[in-house]
Structure formats: C-alpha cells, structure tokens
Symmetry: C2
Subunit: 130 residues, 2 copies
DNA sequence: ATTCTTATTGCAAATGGTTCTCAATAAGCA
DNA sequence: TGCTTATTGAGAACCATTTGCAATAAGAAT
C-alpha cells in the first residue's frame, strides 16, 4: 500500500479544473496553472491528470476530432457531451430522459453504462452553417 | 477540380473493410491487405483511409480507450457504437428508439446529429466482471 | 496502342501528443 | 528534526500519424 501525498501541484491542477466549465487539454491546463506554479512541467500535468482520473476526481475525454489531444473535465456529475466533428468543440448537456432506456437496451449487449460517459458526435451551430 | 483515380490499393482497402464487421486500426488494415498488396506502405493505408472517409465511404472512429489508435468502420448505415472504456472493444448496436428524442433535444444546443455518430462508453461484459 | 499529365505510391524522415528515465525535491510519518 | 519515498522537473524516448519527394501508374488525349 503506497501512501499518496497531497502536493501543491496536484491541488492546484484540480482546483483550476473544477473552477472552469470548459474541457481543456493538458497543454491548456499547463497554461492555466503556470501563474501559480511557474516551475511546473508538462509531465507533472500529465501525471496528475492520470492520477486524478484514476481517483475518479475528473474525467478524461478521449475523443479527438480534428485535434489529436485528450481533453479533461473537472465535473463528474452525470452529464453528456456533444462533440463537434469539425471543430472539436465540446458542449455539456444535462442528462435527458432516455438514459434509463439506454441502460436497459445496453444490458442486452452485456455493457454497463455510466451516464457520464455518453458522447454524441455531430456538428455545432457554427460548423453546420458552412 | 482534381480528378480522382481508382487505384488497386484504394479498391482493396475498401473491399476488405466492407467485408469485415470489426473496427480495425490502420495497422490491422495494413496486415489485412498485405497478402494482396505485398508492397503496400502504411502511409498509403493512412492516405486512403482519409480519402475514403472524406468520400463518406467509411467512418473514422476517433475514440481511443487505452490505446492511442484510430479505428475504422466500413459500414456507414446508421448504427451506434458501444465502446469499452477498459479494453477498447467496440460493439455495433442497432439504432434504438431514442434517436428521435435525441435529435430534438440536441437541436436546442444548435447541434446537428447523425445517427451514425453516437458513441456510448461503458464496460464490456468481460471487463465489468473484474 | 502510345503518349502524356498528374494523382498516387513507397520509402524515409518529420511531427506532435504523451510517456518515461533519473537525479533532485519535498510531503508527512516517526 | 530526521528519514523514507512519493513526486517533481527536465529532457529524452515513444509511437501513431503525417509529410516530402522522386518514382510509378491511372486514365484522358492523341
């Protein structure tokens, strides 16, 4: 059993992520914490994001549309993500009425589904007007 | 207006992808066509997959769970994907009753959604038994 | 058929997000 | 206050994907 330590870096990364309602990349998070942690390294950002995800404190969004970067979400309450296939924008939507339905349907396939992990791909307003 | 040419490579890649009901990676597709195209290069696989996706002949699945590779789907009829967050397995499911509902809900957010592009993340039978 | 244009290929090198190595640092128990 | 070792910072390594370029081959024109 390995103890875990509460480091300044880990604390600040989580705080920043909680405060924001976007879905920043590791690089963006790096920029966000830089004023508070001028010496922090990108590797530390990645390591802490992985740690926090394993602890269930944050979500890692691994869908990459036209950008090969993961994004992170500091809010773990059940919600869904609308992802624009063109510009990669991610929009939160509240859990709609068909969650229950999905769960039943999906049980047939042996899948266990968490409401927080449904991603719907489409085109955002801007991109669909082109 | 640039003409497009029907090359042996392009034809075989699409045929192989159509024949199969899995969601192979570029590397796996490379292995699949190697017997028919012993001199083919991985770059050609990637270029043709991009081409075929732009033509709407195949789907590119950009969600990467525990594997940093894109996957491809030779079947473009509306269907959804169940993706296992742990092992990355992708299962096709037929379009269920809540498609309509989703579309209406999502219109509120300005999103245009195509049935083929809904991905539901969860745990497959094997992984949920651990 | 043959020629000609240029889209496409194969190879190798480049790219870029993420992970890893390792010595130095610091959290927090004794 | 000292001590153990989890964590950090810096840079190198990794690896899926993309790109540059000369060679090849579709397929239209002759």
């Amino acid at each position: 059993m390995q103890q875990t330590r509460q480091t300044k870096q880990r604390k600040i990364i989580l705080e920043k992520l909680r405060k924001v309602h976007t879905h920043p990349t590791a690089e963006e998070i790096f920029q966000m914490v830089l004023p508070l942690l001028p010496k922090v390294s990108l590797a530390t950002i990645y390591r802490n994001l992985e740690f926090l995800e394993k602890q269930g404190e944050i979500l890692k969004l691994e869908h990459k549309n036209n950008e090969s970067k993961n994004r992170y979400d500091g809010h773990t309450e059940p919600h869904r993500h609308l992802i624009c296939k063109k510009c990669g924008e991610i929009v939160d939507i509240s859990c709609c009425c068909c969650c229950q339905m999905n769960k039943k349907d999906l049980a047939k396939y042996g899948f266990t589904v968490d409401d927080g992990f449904i991603e719907i791909l489409g085109l955002c307003k801007k991109c669909s007007h082109k």
